[in-house]
Amino acid sequence: MDLRFRDAEPSDEERAAVDAVLGPPATGWEGGARSATDLRFAARAEPRRDLLLPALHAVNDRVGWISEGALDYVCRRLTVPPAEAYGVATFYSLFSLRPRPARVLHVCTDLACQAKGGRRLREQVEERLGPPGETWQESPCLGLCERAPAALALEAGPAPRAEVYAPADADAMARTPADAAPGSPSPNGSGPRLDVAGDAPAVAAVPQAGQDGLILLRRAGRADPASLDDYRATGGYTALRRAFELGPAGVIREVLESGLVGRGGAAFPTGRKWDAAARQPDHPHYLVCNADESEPGTFKDRVVMENDPYALVEAMTVAAYATGCARGYLYVRGEYPRAAARLAHAIATARARGLLGPDILGKGLSFDIELRRGAGAYICGEETAIFNSIEGHRGEPRSKPPFPVEKGLFGKPTVVNNVETLVNVLPILERGARAYAAAEPKLFCVSGAVERPGVYELTFGATLRELLELAGTTGTTRAVLLGGAAGAFVTDLDIPLTFEGTRNAGATLGSGVVLVIDDTVDLKQLLLRIAEFFRDESCGQCVPCRVGTVRQEEALHRLSRRVSHDDLVLLRDVGRTMRDASICGLGQTAWNAVESAIDRLGVYE
């Protein structure tokens, strides 16, 4: 590719950050020192575009923003046109292409935090730090809903740091931490931050921790998430051994028989997905674990990854064995520094112990996992947008068909599963499909007006009322938002928490969000935030979503001032078009919550 660059040079720091991920440049063509031999060979054109996001992360982590010189250098190294790399860098909200301070505070504005005084918190931060801009910015859901209101500080430097404030206190956040001693450097330039200050123990997000009878959360509070020995002592890697006994086809049969369906929101039968992928003649096959958990109010995957990272590593290994994948990508959202750090540690340890690599457990299985970090884009949790993001393109969803099992990551057959879906495979193999199906576990993210917010594990079939009794509601419950911003409000607490039960009630289980709204919450403000969320997170590819989410927000602003029949008709017209004609699930569901609030809660009457 014949690329043209402008005359911007990277600083030494930026160059070092990029080289730490990509290695030193091999030739002058890639931005290294130019030598006479370079003129005798053409530029190397290896497809390395998928390293674009890690390289941009490296610069952003070191310097705090991406300058033109740094972007040009990354482009030279990876043979990516600068205009395209610019398009990629501007797609993600955690990157800045303008200078900004090394430390940036992200204050959550989303539903769970809003229900817990997030608005007041932002006003206090504004008093101390000025209007949102460079030093602090408003952020979509940080996945810390059980400790709302939440904030996250990301600090660039040779040893990048992250600090979690939850529940957040404006005074503490405004102070730059005095204990800013250099932490341990990241394992490589693209690696996640290892030290996450200020975070409560992960187990605090699991009110049921330590109880008997838990399946998915059984290790929370009982095993050290950093210790592979602890993991094995508590039954770890028995599922993989069982998988080796069953053989790939046997594993798929068990998963099919268990009736496991995807936990990311779409509820597609996992066994059928695996079976279809395993049958594809085209090779290689890829496995993608979707840990880009960004649905407002969802934090179950974070809690699983922080408390039981080896379970995910083992589950991915089982999935890869069953579907014939030699390589897995674990895509964690950029706002989850601790989950990313724990997973990086778990992957490295598993590799060192022969549980990942060319010959796993001496059974000849070759599989390895590459950890990738998102950079602030809800849409990258869409199952095809995640491929584009990993490949180094803008995280725009692709049209289906072709489906991922036919043409997915790098155009090859790909299995893409959510974190919770994958970890469910372990009990299926450990207990057998039938025993598993008899008491199928499901995780729920309970937040809002409850005494004990957190991730709860229930067996399918429990009602919403039973779940709320466990968590203990506070105040007068007015409604419950099921499924997050893309879900729906319900008022009937006796609906069974199953995929069919919620569907029959005109709602969705979605990603398991149970956000309890009491009568102190301003519903109009909440709906405005939902509309703003979708407008912010729309990738901009298709018209119904790109413009429709803007028109929806405008109409809600007008409605919150004055109720008009015309605006309600307009909302329905636009909503129906977004649902019918958008490319992906974001646009198709952007009107769900608003519609249910109008129809069931009578917000604008």
């Binding site: 398009g87 797609f91 307009l570």
Partner: protein, 280 residues
């Protein structure tokens, strides 16, 4: 010379109760056109693989949860397609309203006709509806980028990039409603990788990209396509033999294009063929 294609199986598709036979691999749009249906399109171009981003061509496929973009979805044997169902017409109408209320469609061929046909009223979102209005970018002598007319159909990006030119001077930057077509760091075109082939202008469906001659004449009010004649000839610069269509108004060349069905150019030209007519 027409290149030989391997024989393709024919499949039957039902378009609005009428059965049409199309070769396997054809899109629903091909089938609709074979059935004589006029399905509106914007991001679809005859020389490009569409991004199916505009969604004005949506049709209802029986059994599908959502509407399908006719321009991209492959026709399948036995498929039942409704092009004029209430659902499809509703989405087309609202898409036209969403576009019309945010983008200047004054130079988009057929936009007004479609608005009338589908009863679209872009003004219904009120006078305060957000738009992409911005000043036109005039940073070179050959063409103008007026992004207040841009519907983000990705055609220029695809024509500049891997589908035709392989120059990659422009990309889509930003996200959501703020997304724009941009060079790196929004640099002027003269600082970018642009080679001024004009192939992006050729595929632009709304007139957001236009030749400077056309832009200036439109500003003066002298642009009048009814007074223009088109003469197709062969470019004299090199031996490739590209067909050129000279658009002449008042005895002056005002625009150069190439026929999209020309086997040499497929509608594309280089800077010399496109702009090197000053000597005539």
């Amino acid at each position: 010379m027409i290149p030989l294609q391997p024989p393709r199986r024919l499949i039957d598709v039902q378009i609005d109760d009428e059965t049409v036979r199309v070769p396997e691999g054809a899109t629903i749009l091909d089938a609709c056109r074979a059935a004589g249906k006029d399905v509106p399109t914007l991001c679809h171009g005859d020389t490009l693989t569409p991004k199916n981003a505009c969604r004005v061509c949506v049709v209802e496929v029986e059994g599908a949860r959502t509407l399908a973009p006719a321009c991209s979805r492959k026709a399948e044997a036995g498929m039942k397609v409704g092009t004029e169902t209430e659902r499809a017409r509703h989405s087309r109408k609202v898409v036209l309203e969403l576009l019309g209320s945010s983008v200047d469609l004054s130079t988009t061929p057929r936009a007004a006709e479609w608005n009338e046909e589908y009863g679209a009223d872009p003004a219904r979102f009120g006078p305060d509806a957000a738009t992409v209005e911005q000043p036109a970018k005039v940073d070179n002598d050959l063409y103008v980028r007026d992004y207040s007319k841009c519907i983000l159909c990705y055609k220029c990006v695809d024509a500049c990039g891997e589908q035709w030119q392989n120059t990659f001077a422009i990309g889509v930057a930003g996200r959501g409603f703020d997304a724009t077509i941009s060079t790196e760091f929004d640099a002027p075109l003269t600082d970018s990788a642009c080679v001024y082939c004009g192939n992006c202008v050729e595929v632009c469906p709304t007139g957001a990209l236009s030749f400077k001659t056309e832009f200036d004449m439109r500003a003066e009010g002298t642009w009048d396509e009814s007074r223009q004649s088109e003469t197709t000839t062969i470019c004299s610069y090199c031996g490739v033999g590209c067909n050129l269509t000279l658009h002449v108004q008042d005895n002056k060349i005002v625009k150069v294009t190439s026929p999209h069905d020309n086997p040499v150019t497929k509608g594309n030209l280089c800077v010399k063929g496109r702009f090197g007519y000053g000597y005539v």
